[in-house]
Symmetry: C2
Subunit: 352 residues, 2 copies
């Protein structure tokens, strides 16, 4: 096996931007989307980054996505807003949503912005990061198409609706968490299946809804379980309420796959909840309080065999720093997907 491809971050961003522009996206939308996707790979979250660029462009070609659409306000209050993304790029919807919430929270201390009529917006955590980089606590969630079961059910019942947050952390880069509300990502089950190994209890049920450790028929039969069963189920319901219900739009059980149904709008909704920690006052500054807290977590006694205790997002920031210093590592599937996207858009990848 040859070592994985490493590409300078600016090359990746420029390439993705060019593909989007060639496909008809306005320059501003192309820049926003390319930056979000490339930065996702910089953090090592390859499943949600540039790998999906070709899928978004394909969806636009087939009519399920409008590359030129910009979000508009349906409801606009001092501390809240409902935006309609008009089936545009999810990254534009996400970026607009969080920036709207940050601007409002700067005036009101707390703001909640819901964006409806959107498309898969990639990594939720990066929108939360935008809030944290503005000095705010950001909490971000989205509904997605049904891909996990509920306790007592079989088959796909609701989405494993991603939930993310980021918090300014003073001398550390922001604390970040970006999780799906299934016990594990589907990809982990697929990897176990391909390796022929059983999965732990609590990951999946079989086609009859029975607990199983056998992934061999996944995903044709069997489906992901919520994180800690009723806990993840309950949190996924909350995300559906804060997105589809508040938007008076579809909930996760009603949403088509953005990828496998490219002809139709995805119709997901996102929520951006932003709190300005400064309004509560107190000393020392909130970033220093968070950093001191992280230091206390790091200083806890280590488990046997463990080398360190990480705080949420610390691993991703290490990957980030490594990628900026030595190039972004592109797994084979991402490189292949990008090559195909470039071929269809008529843009040559500089690393090819």
């Amino acid at each position: 096996m040859s070592p994985p491809l490493r590409v300078p971050y600016p090359d990746l961003e420029r390439f993705a931007e060019a593909c989007l522009v060639e496909a008809g996206a306005p320059h501003a939308h192309a820049r926003t989307t390319a930056a979000h996707l490339a930065r996702t790979d910089v953090f090592g979250v390859h499943s949600h980054g540039l790998k999906n660029l070709g899928g978004y462009l394909d969806k636009a070609r087939r009519g399920g996505l409008d590359l030129a659409a910009s979000p508009t306000a349906v409801v606009d209050g001092p501390a809240y807003a409902l935006l309609d993304a008009h089936n545009g790029l999810g990254m534009v919807a996400g970026d607009t949503g969080v920036r709207t919430a940050v601007a409002k929270a700067r005036q009101t201390g707390v703001a909640v912005v819901v964006v409806r009529g959107s498309t898969h917006f990639g990594a939720a955590g990066l929108y939360a990061l935008t809030a944290a980089e503005a000095g705010m606590v950001g909490i971000v969630a989205s509904n997605v198409d049904a891909n996990m079961t509920a306790p007592g059910a079989r088959g796909k019942v609701l989405g494993n609706n991603p939930l993310a947050y980021a918090v300014p952390a003073g001398r550390y880069p922001p604390v970040m968490l970006d999780i799906a509300l299934s016990q594990v990502a589907s990809l982990k089950v697929v990897k176990a299946r391909d390796a022929g190994t059983p999965v732990p209890e609590g990951w999946i049920v079989d086609g009859e809804g029975r607990p199983t450790t056998d992934p061999s028929r996944y995903p044709d039969e069997g489906v992901m379980l919520p994180m800690s069963s009723h806990k993840g189920y309950g949190l996924a319901v909350l995300v559906d309420v804060l997105t589809g219900i508040l938007a008076a739009g579809p909930t996760s059980d009603q949403i088509p796959s953005w990828l496998f149904e490219p002809d139709v709008p995805n119709g997901v909704a996102h929520v951006f909840l932003v709190v300005d920690p400064a309004v509560f006052g107190g000393a020392p500054p909130v970033g220093q309080r968070v950093a001191d807290y992280l230091d206390r977590l790091h200083a806890a006694p280590l488990a046997q065999g463990a080398e360190e205790i990480l705080h949420p997002g610390q691993l991703e920031w290490r990957r980030h720093d490594d990628a900026l210093a030595h190039g972004v590592e592109l797994p084979d599937d991402v490189a292949a997907s990008l090559a195909e996207a470039g071929r269809r858009a008529g843009v040559r990848a500089p690393w090819a």
Copy 2:
């Protein structure tokens, strides 16, 4: 074994109120606290209800809790507030916190209220329910003393900080979820230990921080794991940020046990986040949208052997209705704890 004691709800509430008044609590605080604790048992959450009354009263006697304290505002904005509970009853702090947030959200659409200097406030979900009963989406969390480990650590590192929400649901009573961010409650590990049975992987680590299925030395050695490992860990950190950090007070790693250190103030902080769904508009009314969504969840195909799919809180509402119709079932440990609390306060339990 005799069937468990069943006591009419009003008797329970009056008894608890009388104990609190005899111990020196103002009538209003006694009523608020008694109603919260009794209602918790009505919902079947006996670990967080009247069982703890004696502990609160003991803490007051020993100086760690001021029964007469009322929360005051430290910071008071249109959409946010920071209150100080002055080491008073947690139920008074919780009730004041959520009502403050509801009143603000009615004006501003969204509000966040943090209460510091508080004491164990019982079941977080009932404060969220207060918001839902006012037509709002309520999200409530609290830090608690460190009782679970972090990935890579051994021993207690941070709290399994409870997180709860409630949502109006039209023709259904409100949707509710109230979870701790450990994989399971400590009580479940203790029950397995007492029964001599192993626990599933992912529940606890041993004294060296290694994964184990053997609960025999718990809790002297070994400690709870976060829900889904890094996911529950990350969410517990978020709760610490939204409570102790925003309040510029202690985080969970710095908080003493309210129960085992009765002489000192507990110092927990709570957060109440309330959103008025009506500000986003849309039709049909939000309660009907939620109820229709629940109906869709209920209608999913059943797992083999399952009889129904429940939505979050549905089981608790069944217990609630049964308790109001037939009396509140008091497990032996709750009955014994109440008898002792009554004896010390000089109040006779009407069922004794």
